[in-house]
Amino acid sequence: MDRGKKVAIGMGVYFLVCTLAMIWPGAVVANRVEPLVFGLPFFFFWYVLWVFMVFVGCLILYRLEHGGKE
């Protein structure tokens, strides 16, 4: 399997996890108020967290595809 395919499958799985974390069933585990993080209820913070994870994933994918050369 070449590098491009590995990257595609790996990142595909990563973003699938991010998606499932924000809808049923992933979000069900985070459905509570405690503990408050940065003053936000945990369920609210959960979305702040996963949006950040999507951002990090995009950053990694960009580096993998275009890294090294500007």
Binding site: W24, A27, V28, N31, L40, F43, F44, V51, V54, C58
Partner: protein, 507 residues
Amino acid sequence: MQDWMIVTGITVAYLVAVLLIGLMARNQESSTLEGYVAGGRSIGLFILFFIMGAEIFSAFAFLGGPGWAYGQGAPALYLMAYLGLGLLPWWVLGPKAARLGRKHGYLTQADLISDRFSSKGLSAIIALVSVGAFIPYLTLQITGAGYLFEAATNGNVPFWLGALAAFVIVTVYVYASGLRGIGWTNVVQGIIMVVVAWVLGIAVANRFYGGVGPMFREIQAEAPQYLTMPGAEGMGWAAFSSIILVSAIGFTMWPHLFMKSYGADSEKTIKKTIVLYPLYGYLLIPILIIGFAGILVFQDDPLSNPDNVLPELVVSVADFSPWFIGIMLSGALAAAMSTGSNLAHTASTVLVRDLFVAVFRQDMPESRVVLLTKVFVVVISVFAYVLALFNPASLVGLLLGAYGAVVQFFPLIVAVFFWKRATKAGAFAGLISGSLVMLYFSFLAPPPFEIHAGICGLVVNTVVLVGVSLATKPMPSEHVSKFVEGSKASLQDIDEGASARSDASTA
């Protein structure tokens, strides 16, 4: 001087500034259609980022978003989820759309689809579905602008006048300068929106509760049902998950996204935009905090329309200085107008090119097409303005209805890039059946398990597209390869190929 005059003065100054920036950006390129529609295909990252950002942050973000947090609580987080996820499919689809657009000179989304399925009729149907999605979306912006003006000036500027002022300006600068005008004004509006949202969110939480943490502690003590699913009105997981999916999938199906990708200067620009995009979701944090703040403030005397929670809270209850309210109003109007200008621009392009020119008058000279597109910018804006005056519907309903319509393009786009076996009959049958199912479950019957009508339509659409395609004769393999294989060649190769050809012809 009375407070409302200060508010109005600041806002008018702002609107004039926006108009000037839009007109200054006018350049030679706007006189050709390609220049007018795709910005001459040389838009840089900085502008592209704000064009796209200003597109989603509409009147909905400042009114409907807090409205949901106030009325329902936790389910409003669907907005953050779909903004985070929405642009991901574009990583794969965007560069492919840009490559084929560059290679074959497409200007609209329907150009691409109707070329692949060799059908002008398909182009007409796509145009109708798109305009059906654009009109409620544009109406939403106008309703929002009018309401904001009215609330911020305590009714001294009536709804009809506020809405009219904002949209005359939008129409004028779209009319005068095309996409580049939209780009530069969106840079300014995008920055103002971000600053206003955060300042307002923190200020509201401090004024009523002494901070964000204490605010949520108080809500937890008095009305904890707002802080977790299923929220105050009992939204189920199926409904919640399916509105996230319909919005996230529909997000990359908006015709203007395709038009802008044809204008992108490189694939890296497209991907850089996607990388930065989830961060836009963070603009919703302060916006939702404002909505949550309303829960206890209006506990004894609930608002009749939850969408009004932000202006009610900021203008009537919090009693901030008129200078601050003026800037807030400018920021919110910025959101409504920047989205409105994009929508008016795309809707008229789609209507003129994909319906009128493609089907009836393929020989129309380009200068006439440009003129007609400009005329329709005015016609569509006026139409949406009249709708806003007579039909101020729920903002969330309007937005989700629009997404339910555009999401029906998804199977077609995927087939264009990946599935050679898809046929013209399959494309027609899928798009029509999907749209009808979506309309049925939107207006005539409640959808099964509260799943969003757009998702129901999408499932039927996909099944019918695959089924009918397999039952009909395949399209010529040379033709379909042009799209599936052709979309794999990088944008750089396409440009080099083109310049090599032009070198050969001059030599």
